[in-house]
Symmetry: C2
Subunit: 366 residues, 2 copies
């Protein structure tokens, strides 16, 4: 078996960098600059306020976030954002919110929006089993919509937008849970971005929200306190007790991205090489490795969902890969089959070992 924390292709919570894990493990015994475990430090201390400040500054620097955007660290995952977004932007407006239904995750974002007002689903991929994304010419946008919501990367199906959907004149809201901070990004294209940490940023338990400050001036009343972005802005993400440890580890990952990787351009180049290598073997043997994504233009650089010719082969693949030390290659329960997730912390070395395993497996079973 390989040493721990290698070959982790889990869809999330996923791999984290070895150096981050070592630092996190030490901080459980003693947080730097204190005589206490990071788990035993109050969120009202200067120590923790400095952690949050450094994390926000790190994100602002990595993504060049403009000063008129807030950066928040919240609980509840993307699922809570499914409610918080329409409470802020749809409730009481009398307008319609536009959603794309491009896969398992975006499907989950729609019911909570309907509780707050009218929702128009501009594209519904269910009939094609969510195996492709719509082109901009398929989307009939209403210029007077309250906002336009989509997910940038469908983790389950392995689909990713490589162009920017929506109108520049309508507030664009994007769930970037599975590809946030995997490449540079022009935040100005969005009114609100959210992403849970457990794919590329840190452990589960913390969710990042970037939102244009101006959105909050129109916020309706009677929003439950914890779901009101204004409370979190006012208290600098320490409205109630935050997930201290998850935020601390997210800071360790941000430092790693900045100092060890060298920023998001370099991260994007590494991520592209990893995905291209894996798509390469699949394209050479498309009847054996059967990608769920139908069109090359929609392929995710983060998640590759695929089937083998038979369920028995898939079972053999899972068993043999697990025996060889690979982790997390099962497909999502809604789709079956296999999936390799290539988040930021998955190394090129790990991907090369997976390539070798796949090639060998195919040779033995094709």
């Amino acid at each position: 078996m390989p040493s721990p924390n290698r070959l982790n292709f889990s869809p999330g919570p996923g791999a984290l960098p070895q150096e981050v894990l070592a630092q996190a493990s030490e901080a459980i015994i003693q947080a730097p600059g204190t005589n206490q475990s990071v788990l035993g430090i109050s969120h009202r201390t200067d120590w923790f306020k400095n952690i949050v400040s450094e994390l926000e500054a790190g994100f602002r620097s990595l993504l060049s976030i403009p000063p008129d955007y807030h950066v928040l660290f919240l609980q509840g995952g993307s699922s809570l954002q499914f409610s918080m977004v329409p409470m802020l932007l749809l409730r009481g407006t009398g307008l319609t919110a536009e959603y794309l239904r491009t896969g398992y995750w975006s499907s989950k974002s729609i019911p909570d929006a309907r509780l707050e007002g009218e929702v128009e689903v501009l594209y519904d991929g269910e009939s094609s089993h969510f195996n492709r994304l719509p082109g901009q010419d398929e989307l009939l946008h209403d210029p007077s919509a309250a906002y336009f919501h989509y997910i940038s990367n469908e983790t389950v199906e392995g689909l990713q937008f490589h162009t920017l959907p929506g109108l520049d004149t309508v507030a664009r809201v994007c769930d970037m849970s599975s590809d946030f901070m995997t490449a540079p990004l022009d935040v100005r294209n969005y009114s609100l971005i959210y992403a849970h940490a457990q794919k590329n940023l840190g452990p589960s338990g913390v969710t990042i929200v970037i939102l244009k400050a101006g959105l909050l001036t129109k916020a309706p009343d009677r929003i439950p306190s914890m779901l009101d972005y204004r409370n979190h802005v006012e208290m600098g993400s320490i409205y109630n007790t935050p997930p201290v440890f998850a935020i601390y580890v997210t800071l360790l990952v941000a430092r790693w991205l900045k100092d060890s990787v060298g920023g998001l351009e370099k991260m994007a180049a590494i991520n592209a090489r990893k995905a291209l290598a894996l798509y390469g073997i699949m394209d050479r043997h498309p009847s054996f490795f059967r990608l769920h994504a139908a069109d090359k233009k929609d392929r995710s650089l983060m998640n590759l969902a695929f089937h083998l010719p038979t369920p028995a082969l898939e079972q053999a693949f899972l068993e043999q890969s697990a025996a060889a030390g690979f982790y997390g290659l099962e497909g999502h329960r809604s789709l079956g089959g296999l999936r390799a997730s290539l988040y930021n912390s998955v190394t090129e070395e790990d991907v090369n070992e997976l390539l070798e395993f796949m090639d060998d497996f195919r040779t033995r079973h094709a």
Copy 2:
């Protein structure tokens, strides 16, 4: 300086047992029975499902939770429960919910309840600076109330109910965030109990809810998905990605309570000894150690909030105690002064060192 993770009197996130910290630190590198960090394990694995099952079973055993009660592990802290409870029990009933306002935390529970219906504050301690709790004879309960809500321990003011308020014929809902699992408890007295983990149970990021199954049959529609207990019950607390690490550490603490401490009766005896020792020195020198709690009957076994004769003495106490390795003795920002929190993981040895420090400080400054 003492070795790390001693003398932690933080109000929360607070001390955790040394053996739990050691196990948590190791699991960051390699989770038992896996080849991955606990931070890199998917919540959909059997490994994690077993963690949640063992944790639920452990709580059921420690507290003798009856089978007709659900046990849930959620996100959002007690602050999210402030909304979830009235959404379930007040919304659309046309009834009134009864709340006690006994301190800083219970004050925060009331505004979110008002969003869902009528709220009657049966007792408001603001005029007496929240320095006492009401007796049952001061509470004019309505037998037709939707439910009765109170907090068992006011962390900021150091007040704790040692009798059971409310009517047995009205659903009793209790925020036990700062004294849950510190002593045995008859769950049958309550319709719903909630407690965030970061005082006595684990790190911040996870909240425990125990609720009577029958409550859910009357749940109204149109509750945001993440705030609907039914979704969490149906998915066994894995509705969306849960805070895997916080839940894992909470299991380590539950094992410690069961195996190392020997159960809640023993825990309660230890907690009583710690608090009595500290109240002892204060009662011997009441003009120097000035407790916020006015009545002995309301004294918290968890948090002792007190002042010294002058702000300068308080500042000297904080500086000298910090220099001696004590941690977390500042009072809450709303009250000032000093506070010692004696959660489950604070040892009697630590309390004895604090006693010695206090005695010495008083001798030098009285």
